[in-house]
Each structure stands twice: as structure tokens, then as C-alpha cells.
Symmetry: C2
Amino acid sequence: MQFSVVILGCGSAAPTLGRRPSSQVINIRSHHFLVDCGEGTQIQLRKYKIKFQKINQIFISHLHGDHVFGLIGLLSTYHLLGRTKSLEIFGPLGIKEFITTQLRLSEAYLNYELVFTELKLTEKTLIHENTVVKVYAFPLKHRILCHGFMFEEKPTERRLQMAQLKKHKVSIAYANSIKSGKDVTNEEGQLIKNELLSKDPPPTRSYAYCSDTIYHEPIADYVKNVNLLYHESTFLENLRDRAEKTFHSTALDAAKIAKLSGAGQLLIGHYSARYLNSEPLLNEAKGLFVNTLAAEDGMIVEIQN
Amino acid sequence: MQFSVVILGCGSAAPTLGRRPSSQVINIRSHHFLVDCGEGTQIQLRKYKIKFQKINQIFISHLHGDHVFGLIGLLSTYHLLGRTKSLEIFGPLGIKEFITTQLRLSEAYLNYELVFTELKLTEKTLIHENTVVKVYAFPLKHRILCHGFMFEEKPTERRLQMAQLKKHKVSIAYANSIKSGKDVTNEEGQLIKNELLSKDPPPTRSYAYCSDTIYHEPIADYVKNVNLLYHESTFLENLRDRAEKTFHSTALDAAKIAKLSGAGQLLIGHYSARYLNSEPLLNEAKGLFVNTLAAEDGMIVEIQN
């Protein structure tokens, strides 16, 4: 079952022809979430053939332009496409005014409801939940109020062992009970333990998005044992001063957080426009944390069970 | 001497992969003006290799997203590119709040000054002037406050006739006086009429931008005898009801205004996304006004003397 991250943009600050500003689509078992929405995100959604209407929740890390300037355009396009279903927007305190001011001055009416959840968190907090995933937000450390997001998959049902049902004379009518973990009674009136009839579901998976932030160790706790960690890597270590001054991280910082958190894999991104090629950043991170990937626009990263 | 219009985007409403929302660069004898700034305009500027810093005045027709959502991103990028020179923004009443709210909530500081001129016009008004051009704004008729813009080239200097200077024994030291139209005294103390020594400069040229608007005859007066008229053509005549309901024009409407105004050439654009091919719109306009061009992204239209 799918759990994938589609990189719509992994540049920082000014968009370039090669890399668009931050935006990602997280697809968890056919539930689609948009994370950040830099200018041009709607064009990237079209380019990578992601159906706009599949997205019902948008998560915005902070109000710097390269993470949010594409949101108003996307919301307008939803209206033009005839959306009627409400859309949830999770973002920092201020995001509602940011959007509604533009709508008011444009005299724009939307056919659908916008439901804002404004965040100003000091600890990891559950902000959204559906049948397949729990989404948490947690504070990052940037120049302005900024949150990371963690997507934790919920377990699927237990896997039926058909041969065992037959062996223990259990009717298939109990399938749903068994999949939900219950013990059941067989045709001879005996109680059969669930673990004889089903196997554990595949392990659950998780994804964390950490952009933008300075190196900040509490993040490692928030994303403990995450399967895939996206951590910004705006600079190389030789620009550490610049990273600290602007509250950004180096590729080595990202690797340190990956290591500290026990992440399965690290995905770096949010590169400064000076790095036309991400390889030096990738190599720097790999020096400390081997299982690292460098994001590029259009990349799809699958998270395996 | 150059007077050209570069189409950065000529779609309407939702951007598509083929056409971006409204934006144009007007280049008049090396003075560059940006007119409208839909989402992704800064990417289009890069794509068509137009130097950002050459633009010192931006004209926004109205606050519908497809004409303005790219402005905040462009302003942010100017800051990142180290701009220090002030930037003038002319737009409808409300544009200052539209931009400054976003800057405030992003906690964004710009190294350069933004100078807003907010318009709410009922007649054609001179809003900007430099050594080569006068820029006028005038009211269009749309769902919200909306202005068109007219760029009127100023005459260049008179053209010296070197053979005539020699013939009339006039020193070349008088060149600047002659080019500015003055009569001068020759070596024999005679007053020589300017028209004997110089020719008229080439005729001046003009460009008018009319988007978005319903068919509105007063526009023809505002743009009387314009050399090149850009007039929106969102629909074909068979969607006249829709055009009227949304305060847009058909291609035939655009041709009517071109004819009424005595325009030299018509440039249609702002096509509804339903028209993947602009040819039917072009044909409809040409039926009434033969000298019509259909805008496409990346097109450069030169206005000849």
C-alpha cells in the first residue's frame, strides 16, 4: 500500500528555472496531503499530473513566501474548477488573515468552505486524523513562527491466514472479526486465539517534514524513529555562519538530526539557489548518514514497510 | 528604436501548462515596464531572459488573482537579488494593503522602497512620465475596479540633415540646437530656419492594454488612434451570455473597439482556458478587423514607426 512523497519544489527563496519553491504531496493509501505551497505549486501539480481535488488538507510550515505564495492561486483555481467540498488549511498563526485579506481585496468568493487551523505550538501536537494517518505538528526554530509536520500511518487490519481458518474449522463469516484482532469460536464451539488465525499487519510507516529550521536537537525527539525524514539543507558546512545567521541548516546538520532521531532514511532539500547541483550537499550529509537522498523537483520517494 | 511588447502570459483565470496568467513587459527605447503580474511571472521573466532590475514601474490593472498573484513573489525576489532602487507600483485602490499585509505577516523586510500609486479613475489620467514615454490609466468596466493603461511615446529629436548644414554654412556646433528644433545663425550671420536643416523625427508610437473588461465603447475614445491595442478576448461570440455575465469581452468585441478607436493593429489575449488553440478567436476578430494578432506566451510584438 502506497506511502509516497512527491517533490513539487525543493528550492529555497527565489524560484529558479530548475527548482521551484517548497511544496510536496504526501500520498498515504490514497489520501493526499499538500505540504507547503510556494509560488507555482498549482502548475507543478498539473505538470506531475496530481489531481487537485484529491487534496483536502493543506499544511503550511510558515509564512515565508517560498512556502506560501502559491496558496492563494491554488485556492482560486479550486473555485474555478467547481470545488464544493471544504478544504482544511493548517498553518501558523496569521495564515487566515494572509489569505482572507487577499480574497477580500480581490472581491473573490469561493464556492467551498475554507477551514483554518492556526498553530502556535511549543510541543508536538496531533492536528489531524483520519482512517489511515495521524498528522502531528511540532515547533521548528526559524526566524518566524514555523512548524514541522509528521505523518504517522495507522496500522492496517491483521492479515487472514486462510489455511489456518480451515485447519481450526473457523467459518469465513468471522473474517472481519479476525482482521480486527478478535478471538472467535469455531464450528465445534472452541475459542480460537486470534494469533492462530491471522498475522500482524505490515509495520506502519512515518514521514516527517522539517523545513525551515536551524539545527535544533529537540527536533530529533519529535521525529524519533521516523522512516523518512525530510530535513532542510540550505547550505554546506563551509557556509555555517550564513546558515546560523538566517536560521537555516547545513547538510551536515540534517544528517545529525537524522542520526540522533534514528531515522530510516534522510531526504535533503530546500537548497540555496547557489547550488545548481545538489551532489556536494548529498555527499556532505552521506558522510555522517549514509542512507540519504537528495530531493529534486518531480522526484517520488516511496516509503516501504 | 525599440517599442515592443513581450507577452509573459495571456491566459485567464486558472494557469495552464500552455498559458500563464496575464503579464507583459513593455520595452520603450530601453525603458521596461511590467503590466500585470499573474502567478509565475518571475519564472516567465527568467524564461524569456528579461533582466528583473530593468523594471522600475509595475502597472496592475486590477486585483483578480490572474493579474496580481505573482507580484508578492516578484517583490520578494527583488529583495533577494539585492535591489536597493525604489520600485513604483501603480494599481487599483487596495493594492497597497494587498501587498503590505503579506509582507507584514511574512515578517519580510525589503531593502528597497515600494512607492504605491493607488488609482480609482473615472477618466483618462496621466500617471507616469519619463524622458521617452507618458503612461496614462483609464477606467475599464469589469466586476471590480479595473484600469487600462496607455503608453504614448514622446517624440525623439529632429533628424539633422548634414548636407543641408554644409549648404547653408551652419556650424556642426549647433547640432543640439537644431535637433531640439531651434533656428540658428550661419557663418554669414543669416538666420536659417530649422526646417531647412532637419527633418521631423519618426512618428511617435503608442500601445494600450485593456484587460479585463466587458465591451465598453468609451474605451475606444481613451485609446483613440493607438498603434497597437491589446484588448481582452476571453470568449467567442457564441458565449456572449457568459462574457456579459462575467464582464469579459468576445473576440468580436475586441475587434469592434479596435475599429472604433482607429487602432493600427489589434492584439487579442486573456483567452478562456477552454480555447487551447487561439485560432477561432483570431478568425472571429479578423472578420471585422483584419490587422489582428493572437497573443501567445513568449510572443514579442514590435511596434513600427
